[in-house]
């Protein structure tokens, strides 16, 4: 056995030196949390030097910078990135992005560097994990428009907020689930009981009540945004409890539905490719109306502090449901849903915004 003196010998010092070099290399590799990229094309999500990748972009185009706390693979930030990428693809903006800034200090440091070095017209991102840091940077750069997903309100002169307001498509999906279930039991697996998740699920429950007042909705939260294996187990527990239609607010649920051969409703993007025979529809969030509004502001040299929520509402084209699987869902029910959707689009019907935590088991008529 070596003693401390042994470890001070030259051969161990050499090993330690080698280790230190290797460790430093590994640390640099593994700490590459912030992935940057620049594009004026939607498919470029593969990173690169943010300051150089935009070569070839029109110098007159306003620079939009996406700054994300999570990886782009996370659906929420992925929806924002997709909208910015599509605007770049349409030749309306120059777009660069940075993701994986999971801590407040990384977010603040990156924002300050981008605001100082790149001087973008607009910075778009999510502030949920770093509200104070993001707002502090915005206050120091009043000439730059900040537009962030946030649980708080806007701050003059330049901090606007948005969120995914998907209670309307949630309602339509609830109508579908209520009209489809034969056991009168429907399952929902959500991430965690936070306002932006609660209002979608409560909208869903309200929709179920319209088409099936006898139904019971089972709601499970897995307390994680990324844990599809647990989401699958939560869904399985609901199937065991009699659920025959599932709403997959999280990944993993569609796999359970496909195994049990029952309909499932996807979330955020059209997830029909995951199980074409069993995905009935999906709730969709479009950030493009929000981005288009920001582009208009830049064109008129306007820097504002707005609540951009309305641009995510179904009535403004900010959210929708994907085409309904006609092999799974009855035509009369689809017509009924389409009728309600038309009312939402015309503004004559609004889903109640209820951000209370739903119970684990809810009889929809109360």
């Amino acid at each position: 056995m070596d003693t401390r003196d042994d470890l001070a010998k030259p051969k161990y010092r050499a090993r330690r030196g080698l280790f230190a070099a290797l460790a430093a290399f590994l640390l640099v590799l593994s700490a590459c949390g912030g992935n940057s990229g620049g594009s004026d094309a939607a498919e470029d999500t593969t990173g690169g030097d943010s300051s150089d990748d935009s070569g070839g972009a029109d110098a007159d185009l306003p620079l939009f910078y996406g700054v994300f706390a999570t990886s782009l693979e996370e659906p929420w930030d992925g929806a924002i990135h997709a909208a910015l990428s599509s605007a770049a693809e349409d030749g309306m903006i120059e777009y660069r992005h940075l993701d994986g800034l999971g801590t407040a200090d990384a977010m603040e440091r990156s924002l300050r560097e981008i605001a100082t070095e790149d001087k973008p017209a607009v910075i778009v991102g999510d502030a949920f994990a770093a509200e104070d840091a993001v707002r502090a940077v915005a206050a120091d750069f009043p000439e730059i428009q900040f537009a962030f997903g946030s649980g708080g309100g806007p701050v003059a002169p330049n901090f606007s907020v948005f969120d995914n307001w998907m209670q309307d498509p949630g309602y339509l999906a609830g109508m579908l689930a209520g009209g489809t279930t034969e056991s009168n039991t429907i399952g929902v697996v959500g991430a965690m009981p936070i306002p932006e998740v609660n209002r979608i699920i409560n909208g869903f429950i309200e929709g179920v009540a319209e088409t099936n007042p006898d139904a019971t909705v089972l709601v499970s939260f897995i307390n994680s945004f990324f844990d599809p294996a647990t989401a699958q187990q939560a869904a399985q527990a609901q199937i065991d409890a009699g659920a025959d239609v599932l709403f997959a607010e999280r990944d993993g649920v569609i796999a359970a539905a496909a195994e049990a051969e029952i309909p499932a409703i996807g979330m955020m993007v059209d997830q029909s490719d995951q199980a074409p025979d069993f995905v009935a529809t999906s709730l969709l969030w479009f950030m493009r109306p929000t981005i288009d509004h920001l582009i208009e502001n830049v064109a008129s040299d306007t820097v504002t502090s707005e609540d951009l929520a309305q641009f995510s509402f179904l009535v403004n084209g900010g959210s929708a449901i994907a085409p309904i699987n006609t092999d799974l869902i009855d035509g009369d029910l689809i017509a009924k849903i389409a009728e309600r959707q038309a009312e939402m689009e015309s503004g004559s019907f609004e889903t109640t915004v209820n951000e209370e935590t739903p119970a684990g088991s809810t009889d929809v008529t109360g």
Binding site: D2, R16, F19, N35, G47, G187, T230, Q232, A241, A255
Partner: protein, 300 residues
């Protein structure tokens, strides 16, 4: 509670316990040799991602499984080079390995597949259909009926098992008796790494048929705790995995009942951890770690 409730609970317990079993038995092998491998979370991650990526690219789920085994062996080898040959601090190496492997997988995932999940593959099906709790795939049957008994027998009755225990307890004495300490530790880390990676591969190849970021979600750390809970013995470790999984399956079911639906969600989710920590507090106060735990061996 109906009969269906309990049947579902038992079936879910086996499914939830399976990745924990693979990983904790792999970790048990590591720790019996005196090496703590905190690279377990990253090793499971590379098994999950690498296995699915190879299965997706090749079109063969079995090639994916073999790929996961190879990635696990390489991850174990990496830890072995640093901890056994170079004698570096095992905590630092383990955590560094996890950070490296998780980041490397996410990097490759983005390079190769862009944002979004991998193409879905046809996952391993259940061996028996419509048989309640017996409807499990082969990886569950294998880990419970073959791997656990095999490891128990190996550690207890074979030359390798006895050498492994000797190396983990008293490497100087093992060395004097002619046992190659470093080689034994290398074998333990490489084989253990393969088992951990199979725990990760179970999630993508047998449970979900796809991959998303963060897919292991701390199961590796749970497996580390289970080995300590099991006092470095096979059957108590298996019991710990089953206890954790049963409590997890139970809380998922209780949360959607009208009786427990009003109980704070966080409390129910914490239940399996509370049960294991509670059991550890009651029965684990006089733990006896392997004699050479965390100590690199150098011949004097």
């Amino acid at each position: 509670m109906s009969l269906g409730f309990w049947i579902g609970l038992i079936g879910a317990t086996f499914a939830i316990a399976t990745p924990l079993m693979w990983a904790s038995l792999g970790n048990l092998l590591n720790e019996k040799s005196g090496v703590m491998n905190l690279g377990i979370e990253g090793t499971m991650y590379v098994g999950a991602f690498g296995g699915l990526a190879i299965a997706s690219e090749s079109g063969s789920i079995w090639l994916g499984l073999i790929g996961a085994i190879i990635f696990g062996c390489l991850a174990g080898l990496l830890v072995a080079v640093f901890t056994v040959t170079m004698g570096v601090n095992q905590h630092v190496v383990g955590i560094g390995t996890t950070l490296l492997l998780v980041s490397a997988c996410e990097f490759v995932n983005r390079l190769r597949y862009g944002s979004g999940s991998l193409a879905k593959i046809e996952k391993f099906g259940d061996i028996i259909d419509d048989a309640g709790p017996l409807s499990q795939n082969w990886m569950t049957y294998f880990v419970f009926l073959i791997l656990a008994p095999l490891m128990w027998w190996t550690l207890r009755s074979t030359g390798f098992g006895l050498r492994l225990t000797a190396v983990g307890e008293h490497p100087e004495a093992a060395d004097v008796a002619g046992i190659n300490v470093n080689r034994t530790r290398y074998v333990a880390l490489v084989v253990g790494g393969a088992l951990m990676a199979l725990g990760g591969a179970y999630i993508t190849l047998a449970e979900l048929g796809t991959f998303t970021l963060g897919i292991i979600s701390g199961r590796g750390w749970v497996a580390v705790a289970l080995v300590i809970f099991g006092r470095w013995k096979v059957w108590p470790t298996v019991a710990g995995a089953v206890l954790f999984a049963a409590t997890d399956a139970l809380q998922l079911r209780l949360a959607i009942t009208s009786t427990f639906g009003a109980v704070p969600n966080e409390l129910l989710i914490a239940l399996p951890y509370l049960v294991v920590v509670g059991a550890l507090a009651i029965w684990g106060r006089k733990l006896r770690y392997p004699g050479a735990y965390l100590k690199p061996y150098r011949r004097a």
